[in-house]
């Protein structure tokens, strides 16, 4: 049984607790122990870095310090915003001894930046796609997914250093292990408008409509995401999108962990798929688009 540190961040304990349920259920089945950081704090996104540079390093720095204190060499942060902030801090700490001292003093815990921070896709890669493939109970033959990476999973490219920033393939390879198909489409790394969810909703509805429409046009019968904000915009707001644009999408939006869980034989309830806004689940008879 492998053991990873786990940093849920605000989203997974709040609006996206369905994501946490999905991740936890999945990891349990894969016999991965998630050790939630004791007394973790906010990662600083999205406000800290534009207000106070030191604060924007100290907030993730404290979380990295906790991980180091508790002996986690790898830390899972499923929210890409969190993982990016943590990696950014880790890199800055690794490069400068002066900063290590400064941040350690501020957070009152020694921080070196030694912890590896990984995203949701990477934890499946660590578990091993062969192992997952061998554990599949219900191959997802009916799924033709459009893998949606959004903005932060692969960017900034030199910071997160994960997959090709413009033509990522990592989610597709996970899906292939589950027996699911994925489509070639054009909006895999486009913006969903997450930062404007509250301030300029029509922009979000416009962008998400383009994303969903393009996915459908390329033959996808569902979207797969690895980001809580993407999920909010594509799933929760889909009704508003349909209303604003006078269309009917009915496009299920899964977290990557949902599909892994379903293929491993977990139920929709265990994975909280039943709590999505757009009806989802392999038993929901996904619509195939001609």
């Amino acid at each position: 049984m492998s053991r990873f540190g786990y940093y849920p961040g605000c989203a997974l304990h709040g609006s996206s607790n369905d994501f946490e349920a999905s991740v936890r259920a999945c990891m349990k089945t894969l016999e991965v122990e998630l050790g939630e950081l004791n007394d973790w704090i906010c990662c600083g996104a999205t406000a800290a870095h534009s207000i106070n540079h030191t604060l924007s390093l100290a907030l993730p720095g404290r979380n990295l310090g906790i991980a180091e204190r508790d002996g986690f060499t790898d830390l899972l942060a499923p929210c890409p915003m969190c993982s990016m902030e943590l990696i950014k801090t880790k890199n800055a700490l690794t490069e400068s001894a002066a900063l290590r001292k400064e941040i350690s003093d501020i957070v009152e815990t020694p921080v070196t930046g030694a912890t590896e921070v990984i995203n949701l896709i990477q934890i499946f890669q660590r578990v091993g796609l062969d192992r997952i493939q061998a554990a599949v109970k219900k191959p997802l033959e009916s799924i033709s997914a459009a893998c949606y990476y959004g903005c932060l999973l692969t960017r900034p490219p030199r910071t997160v250093a994960f997959d090709d920033p413009d033509q990522p393939r990592s989610m597709e390879t996970v899906l292939a292990a589950l027996g699911a198909k994925s489509v070639e489409w054009n909006y895999a790394t486009e913006c969903c408008g997450a930062g404007m969810t509250l301030s300029r909703e029509e922009t979000v509805l416009n962008l998400t409509n383009k994303i969903i429409t393009n996915a459908k046009a390329h033959g996808a019968n569902c979207l797969v995401v690895a980001c809580p904000m993407c999920h909010v915009n594509l799933d929760m707001k889909q009704g508003a999108v349909e209303q604003a644009h006078g269309v009917k999408h009915d496009m299920p939006v899964y977290y990557l962990s949902d599909l892994v869980g379903l293929a491993l034989g977990l139920s929709e309830r265990e994975l909280a798929v039943n709590r999505h806004f757009v009806r989802a689940g392999v038993h929901a008879a996904p619509k195939t688009v001609a």
Partner: protein, 665 residues
Amino acid sequence: MARIGVFICWCGENIARTVDVKRATEEVEQIPGVRFAIDYKYMCSDPGQTMVRDKIIAERLQGLVIASCSPHMHMKTFRAAAKAAGLNPYLVEMANIREHCSWVHQNREEATAKAVELIRLAVGKVIQDKPLDAIKVPLTKRALVIGAGVAGIQASLDIAEAGHEVVLVEREPSIGGKMAGLSETFPTLDCSQCILTPRMVETGQHPNIKLYTWSEIESVDGSVGNFTVTIRKKARYIDMSKCTGCGECWNKCPMSKTLNDFDYGLSKRKAIYLAFPQAVPARPVIDKNACTKLKTGKCGICAKVCAAGAINYEDQDEIVTEQVGAIVVATGYKLYSIGQEQDNEKYTGYGEYGYGKYPDVIDALQFERLSSASGPTGGEIRRPSDGAVPKSVVFIACVGSRDPAKGVSYCSKICCMYTAKHTMLYKHKVHEGTAHVFYMDIRAGGKNYDEFVRRAIEKDGAKYYRGRVSKITEENGKLIVRAADTLAGVPVTIEADMVVLASAMLPSTGATELAQKLKVGYDEYGFLSESHPKLRPVETNSAGVFICGACHGPKDIPEAVAQASAAAGKVQVMFARNELTRDPEIAKINEQNCAACYACVRTCPYNAIEKAEIRDRQGNLVKMTARVNPGLCMGCGTCVAVCPSKSADIDGFSESQIYEMIKNL
């Protein structure tokens, strides 16, 4: 006591106005070692020089100090005068009492005192001077030219025409290089092959050119005037002496699945193939990775159909050596890869342009083949995916160039011109089509160049947008090009049928490995370094090695040719002599004293110091030492400063000479 003559020049009034020459002469006569001091109005004049010569002989002088102007002005003059009078020219020193004294000081007392002191320093140095002889190096009057693109061909023909033998080495099966594959050339739109192929034939038939195609440089030993070059002739599986180039073999070869590299993957070729129809030599080669006979032992059709019996499946690589006196490097360029694989981890590619994903996103050299009459489409512009004639083509300039974040920071120089040319070629063939160009700046410096770009825009109607393309996606068989038009300040979306990327020019694969073999410097991108960017543009810091063409940096054809002729000219200057002479003010090692730490070997910018062994008559190793190769040493003296045992010294600026100067302060 030394016999030193001091000659103090008035330089008309230039020196005499501020320096009391008469008094200085009197004071200088008191310096120990000075036989006499004499002043004269113009020492460099004919009577002045005659006086110097006469005095050398009459007074049996052992050294001269000329107190006049800068040695950069007249050192050569007075050395020649000394030589004419039988005195070793390196026993002449100059005290610069004009530029460094009379011209920069007003006070006569101070200037006179300083002049006397400058002369005293020079006397100190000349006493320690040693007679030196110009270094003579024997010379092999044969040249090696590496790379047979247009630059290598030009250099080879120039040298060969001057009557010297040339060894021309090309790693591809045919000479011709990149230019052989181009369609038409800017700014005249003359057909590339029409102007190049006659030069290729001339090269192939020239009695003074020894051609090695399908061959690579293994190693280079020796130094200027006398290089030994080892060449690997790769197995061609064809007996070149028997083959007539009839074409029976490649016509009958059943294997036709290999991508044709001459067409940059836009067509297929046989396993036995002629590089291209006008290839020189017009002899095929067997691709050992594609040939069934070589891989499995079955087939052998080409051998059966070859009436000349020229096919040899047992062919092996062959190593040959050649002796040459000079080397011209003309290894050319390649394009920044638009495929996913990059050969340098610094380059991250252009995923947003759909590299390797959309077949109709091609690079500039592929477009050259598409528009070439001998290309895969016979000169018709047809896109690779379905062979349709594209009605809308987007050309993107600066892909990889001027982009330090993802590519290289330099400008590739030729892309503005060939992109304008591409739009013209396209419009001349697809009249109803539209050519869109996205550029950062238009750089069209050159004779008739800017006029050419204006013609593309104004006469042939190419649409130019100043801005970068952010992303290319594919929808319903169209390439959706999203970009910014920064002059209009609006985003632009174009539905294109084909996209052509003007990718950055990089030095060709293996250029740095070759540079290391030749001890030639190169920059962070692998372009070879010239000796001096203005005054020695085709020489390198490795004596006897010259560079030309795009191996030195992005260049168009006229520049590459001009540089090739310049390099050939430099080779001819070398070969005009029967032996090489070099300035003898170079380093030397006291080999008995040398501790063989080799700090000098590591420091020498010219790799002129080597590790050597001293053996006794029985051949037993006495000691190790560093040894200067006088053919390579340029006399910078860096080794002198780094030598911990003070075994390195430099003639003309030796430790004893400099210390003697200082002692006379």
